[in-house]
Symmetry: C2
Subunit: 247 residues, 2 copies
């Protein structure tokens, strides 16, 4: 399993991904699922992946090596030439389709789930920061202000706190805290999602540095947050009245 969360806020983009992979419960490991697709002066593009590891790694490598372009000789298939984030999402979708038609079909013949999903976010030039969710077929949706987040993988346990606390105008440090709470709830209920967690923050203001951080198992802030959250939830529930019709 996997949990990846993307937030597109007034103040910037946040991507967060756990690192646990598993084939059955007796074979688990740690792999980075938050990748840099482009990091130049004119574009910063990032992707988080969920699903079959062999498929998602192939998709990322194919994009990083610009194979879509080199096979066809078409510069317009280069991430480094894509004029907008929409075009970037199209190219990621093409890469997903390409891998699905080769590795994916072979896996499906062996009855192995070959599905994959990606969160793709970033900025091209001085265009707006965008965030997309690319599905297994290669189609995609774009994050908008009404619900300022997208999730892939184990999405349910960590969703209630997002529905209740996150808004498009939430400041970045507050949003990172909410993202940590969302990951805490998910890790409490699904062993297939685990530390360390990779975090990437891209401020909306052009020229502000991108923050990239790995939150380790022994991160003091995260541990303290999880403990205090558990106490707060317990106390909040305890303080509410029992049903009057139970008397």
């Amino acid at each position: 399993m996997t949990y990846c969360l993307g937030m597109l806020l007034e103040s910037g983009l946040i991507l967060m991904a756990d690192t646990r992979t598993n084939a059955g419960v007796d074979n688990f490991s740690t792999f980075r699922k938050l990748h840099v697709l482009a990091d130049g002066p004119d574009r910063q593009i990032y992707a988080a992946t969920a699903g079959s590891l062999s498929v998602s790694q192939s998709v990322i490598s194919l994009l990083q090596e610009d194979q879509l372009a080199s096979e066809t000789g078409e510069h317009r298939r280069c991430l480094s030439e894509a004029p907008t984030m929409f075009r970037v999402a199209q190219l990621v979708g093409e890469a997903v389709e390409r891998v699905g038609a080769t590795v994916g079909e072979a896996l499906e013949r062996a009855h192995v789930d070959a599905s994959v999903e990606l969160l793709v976010g970033g900025r091209v030039g001085e265009g707006p920061i965008k965030l997309f969710l690319v599905y297994s077929i290669g189609n995609f949706i774009e994050c908008t202000a009404d619900v300022p987040f997208l999730q892939i993988g184990e999405t349910k346990y960590g969703r209630p706190i997002l529905d209740r606390a996150l808004r498009h105008d939430t400041p970045i440090p507050e949003a990172v805290k909410i993202a940590c709470l969302s990951f805490d709830s998910t890790m409490k209920s699904n062993l297939g999602v685990a530390m360390p967690i990779d975090l990437l923050v891209m401020p909306a203001a052009v020229g502000h540095a991108v923050l990239s951080r790995r939150i380790e198992r022994d991160d003091g802030y995260f541990q303290d947050l999880a403990d205090r959250w558990a106490d707060l939830i317990y106390d909040a529930a305890s303080g509410l009245p029992a049903p009057p019709w139970m008397d």
Copy 2:
């Protein structure tokens, strides 16, 4: 979709089930999913169902009409003769198998999901109150004190509050409140789970009356609880510190 929750506590049994059914999003309706299988002086047995409505209704009717027994002339296949709750769970499992082999196979030929799950709880004679989860194949597990609840249907959104707040020694009114919070979280995130909610409470002390109640859409207590919970969660999250490494 559906959400059913069973709690087996020191102080008694709680069963709760929503009433929304749907075939696609454009065809939804209200059906009771919390059923009385036996209500006599020597036994009270209840079941909550999730999954294919035609399959689960057939299972319930087959048990209520004691068809397992009348077809074979075997009294030991009567719920009304079952000497223990374990035997009751076996008979429910047999009914699930029987319907699966007839209606279920026909549905699967038409590529319609025919799976069904049941929570079965109650007491036979002066035996202990028990709670079982019966799966689509007819096999089942029994609830124990370590994790004093079982869920079927849309289980994920409502689970974190149970993991954090419910214990085997939680008093019944407190547990009903926690169950309401679990349903509130589920209904906030999945339109396939909706009011009214049916509730059944069987106190452990022999001779205490069973409480049966339908919590309607306009229930003042539930509405107030949901509002206050939303505020408490929001305030609790707001009060926690942002990550120090975001500065």
